[in-house]
Amino acid sequence: MGKIVGGFMMPHDPTVFINPKKLDNSHLMDAYAEIRRRIVALGATSAVIVGADHYILFTPKCLPQILICLGELNGPVDQLPGLPGRPIPHNAALAGYIFDHAQDVGFDLAVARSLGVDHAIGAPAHLCLPEDGSVKTVAVYMASGVAPYLRLRRAHAFGAMVKAAVEAANDEERVVVLGSGGISHWVGTGEMGRTNPAFDRMVLDAIVAGDADSLLALTDEEILREGGNGAMEIRHFLAVMGAMPGGSGEVIAYDAWEGAVTGLGFAQMRPAA
């Protein structure tokens, strides 16, 4: 029987890495490194990383609500400073197991045979997992960047499904679930560069309290208005919370950093004892 041993939230804002204003970003890189240390300390063997396609990977002919990659991973294909594209160690057995379980319980996951991921998966895979490849990735994309958006409630239910799948697996998997996403940010709209620390704080408070309900009560219009189109990525945080019912969280770092365009939150979720 496998086990969910923890969850983490972290941003993947490209401007953190491009750092156009050449500011000191070491506190942010430290936060990624702290997550990596904690994942190692948890003895994790695999990471389910949940990200958003930013209309880079999937075409208007087939936009998945939720997609899982069953095979090889590499990337990010949109290479960034410090994040060169390279193979990402993957766990095909666990991905296949989650897919089968999803079919059993009524999720219709689109699949990729293999995938060059974008920075949403590439940033946490490179920065939050040990470099020796000992923690293998299962990549999941949710419709958080391109409408029609996945329902918040479905993202949360997906996390619960992953927990059930991992626990039903024969393997001695110790799994962390990583929700990759910014908090408030506006991507490609006139507001871009703006953040909303009050919205960020509300989201982080909900994570700390393990209070998924207050996030699930948000409408998409509220999220778009207060957090921007980028904040639709709180779906990925809800997936993490869904995998840890009754759990609670801790903020590792937060900064509405002026070098970036996003409210940058780094957090850990711990499963209920």
């Binding site: 209309y55 960047g145 490609g188 709209t189 006139g190 871009m192 778009l224 208005r225």
Partner: protein, 93 residues
């Protein structure tokens, strides 16, 4: 003649330097492959990202499209043209 054809066209242009090269060499021949009205072709040719956004195109797509043609330094220029997201929501701010 459809916003979906415009979206497909902009997706194709935004995500491939090779496709952009083909477009730049023969814009009219390229645009003729999509079911676009003359007005829609003009929006694409003129890279009228503001109007394309008002017509429902995804702003991530539009940003990639614009910067694909004009390079990363064009971000400021792109943003100066773009309406706010709030302007597209119910009562606005």
């Amino acid at each position: 003649m459809s916003i979906n054809a415009v979206e497909q066209c902009i997706f194709d242009l935004g995500n491939s330097g090779r496709v952009r090269k083909g477009y730049s060499a023969e814009p009219e021949a390229f645009l003729a492959r999509y079911a676009l009205s003359d007005e829609e072709k003009a929006l694409i040719r003129e890279m009228d990202v503001a109007e394309l956004f008002r017509r429902g195109l995804n702003p991530m797509l539009l940003m990639g499209f614009y910067m694909g043609f004009h390079g990363p330094a064009s971000m400021v220029d792109y943003l100066s043209k773009m309406p706010t997201l709030a302007s597209t929501l119910g009562t606005g701010e």
